[in-house]
Amino acid sequence: MKKNLLKNNAVQSLIASLICIVLGLFLGYIVLLFINPSGAGGAILAVIKNFLNSTRANLRMKNFGNTLVKTAPLLMCSLSVLFAYKVGLFNIGAAGQYVAGSCACLIAALGWGWGWLPCLLFACVVGAVYGAVVGLLKAYCNVNEVISGIMLNWIGLYTTNMILASVKESTSNYTLHVANEAPQAILPSLGLGKLFNNNQYITLAIPLSILLAIAIMIVLDKTKFGYELKATGGNKNAAKYAGMAEKRNIILTLMIAGALAALGGAFLYQTDYEQWSVTQSSVPGMGFNGIAAAFLGGLNPIGTIFASYFIQHITNGGAYVDLTKYSSQISDLISSIIIYLCGFVLFIKYAINTGIARREEKQARKVQAEAAETEKGGDA
């Protein structure tokens, strides 16, 4: 008998994610209808089209590049969430680890004049330490990682504002331009910018983030360490019984997750695409969007690459919305609806499986009935 394609787990994940996206866009559309019926369709289209909204081809390429520039840090954040989730930990602290990484690379670049590689590594280390705090609290004090993560997000934000105040422009609340003040810390572009109409923000960060996604997949699927981590996530007590150091695994996982998210921060700020505002009063959304991308990607590193791009695509698309009717935050709205729907992925898979089972049962019954029919016919 032909194997049912729908039974394949990866296919099911893909279908579930697509359902989430379509439903999310549709629900977003309905919300827009409520706010202002006249422009709802146009606004959703603008969000979906993103850089395709630009009329000139070279501008389109440049804006496509800009979307990619912000996809790299988002991908790192979602890998951080994904990696921790495989071990059964919900790393909502990715947002804070991302902030810690941004802080570390900016102070190292602007304050201490370090080169790009040391800055990157320093961000990694700081992020790992920041993640380790959550891990230690979880492993030894049984503190829920979601709550400690949120607390650390805010602590990180205020600390960063305080530290980076020493390298801010004298006339504004933004940190100095890395490209002007510390060009040695800008990530090498490898000539990639030429592909995107000389977009100077395109750097090593983009290919590196994709390589890291692949590396994460290999670690999780092909190594003993990854297997142990997943086993700890599946059943902590069983893992302990089998002789795995479950406490060490929890801490190590969050250190790696922290380093990944922190790299995300470095990937953005070491391109000088954005400057940090030291009066910022809310935690940057990058870490939270990472949660969206991780779940939308079906918790698969490769799926996450595409999901990160999609989330960033619609986030950038929000800028093209007719601002006299809606605000650019409608893309945040849509991505949060998508995360909400991602909570139902298991339910969708369950529905698909029961649907298949029911159909197969029906078919089996039909075959039986036919067999009985032919038997009768043979008598005559």
């Binding site: 006299t324 935050q329 991505s335 298991l346």
Partner: protein, 313 residues
């Protein structure tokens, strides 16, 4: 000093209300990480009332309408958690997180739309309510009494009596400890969990409107509620899921939150020359420390976070 007491009381009221909301939901067996989102939406409901109800109504009517707006939207929003976590057995952590993001995003989009509709040049997400807010305040010799301080105390009494002295409360708690056992004696676990979630919507919505009325007279919805929902969860854990202990914990956390608003009023604190950011992060640091010391022997409801499946015995 009076100012410190005033701020401590109002922030404690917020934390108390929201933590009690979390307490109801968790006792019924559902972890409510979406409290932050519920607060934002509740605050939105109240703020909309304050913006659109004419100021000519009597202060009492205003107070009632604002509270009603917050509660109705808070409850309506909490159904998102109920449907997902009770009926469809979704992952409670993901759904709660999504609700927090959705709350801020939806409130921002709505408020911006309203502002832009009223004045095309206004693209802010701020609602001002300096006049309407006065309905909530009573000035007693320099001390600004806010009706929410009283409401919080009443809410505490109601929560205590409901949880420990009524059939409903005891049944609710049974569903969070051992839902199968509760079901076997004829308690409808799904209904009880729904009740817990909806009550947390009431309390969360109240806490939300109380928060934006504390100290400021306009609110930028883009900022959400700055992790207050999670601080409330920390208060709840520190209070070991018991209403009276939660009240004490809320006072402690409220004090530290209040300090960040009024530290410049104390000469000795100013002379220490500590940057304002330190005071801002104080409540979060304290809650981390407190959690580190109290989570080890937590008395969390045993079945919280596990979707109830009738077929699983």
């Amino acid at each position: 000093m009076l100012l410190l007491i005033q701020y401590t009381l109002i922030f404690s009221s917020v934390l108390l209300l929201v933590a009690l909301g979390g307490c109801f939901s968790e006792h019924s067996g559902v972890i409510n990480l979406g409290l932050e989102g519920i607060m934002v939406i509740g605050a939105l409901g109240g703020a909309l009332m304050m913006r659109f109800v004419p100021l000519t109504v009597s202060p009492f009517v205003m107070v009632v309408l604002v509270i009603l707006g917050a509660v109705v939207l808070g409850v309506a929003y909490s159904t998102l958690l109920g449907v997902a976590c009770i009926n469809l057995k979704a992952d409670q952590t993901i759904v709660g997180t999504a609700m927090n993001m959705l709350g801020t995003a939806a409130a921002t989009v709505f408020v911006k739309a309203i502002n832009t509709a009223a004045n095309p040049d206004d693209v802010s997400s701020t609602i001002q309510y300096a006049e309407a807010k006065k309905a909530f305040l009573v000035n007693i010799g320099g001390f600004e009494f806010n009706w929410f301080m009283l409401i919080a105390v009443i809410a505490l009494a109601i929560a205590y009596v409901t949880l420990y002295k009524t059939k409903f409360g005891l049944r609710l708690m049974a569903c969070g400890e051992h839902p199968q056992a509760a079901d076997s004696v004829g308690i409808n676990v799904y209904k009880m969990r729904w009740a817990g979630v909806l009550i947390s919507g009431v309390y969360g919505g109240l806490g939300g409107i109380c928060y934006i009325l504390a100290g400021v007279s306009e609110w930028r919805f883009e900022n959400g509620v700055a992790g207050f929902g999670f601080l409330a969860l920390a208060v709840m854990i520190f209070g070991q899921w018991k209403p009276t202990r939660i009240a004490l914990a809320a006072l402690l956390f409220g004090l530290f939150r209040a300090l960040s608003n009024v530290y410049f009023g104390f000469d000795f604190l100013v002379s220490l020359n500590i940057p304002g950011s330190i005071y801002n992060m104080m409540p979060y640091v304290i809650s981390l420390l407190v959690l580190a010391f109290t989570s080890k022997n937590s008395r969390a409801p045993k079945a919280e976070g596990i979707p109830y499946d009738k077929g699983q015995r």
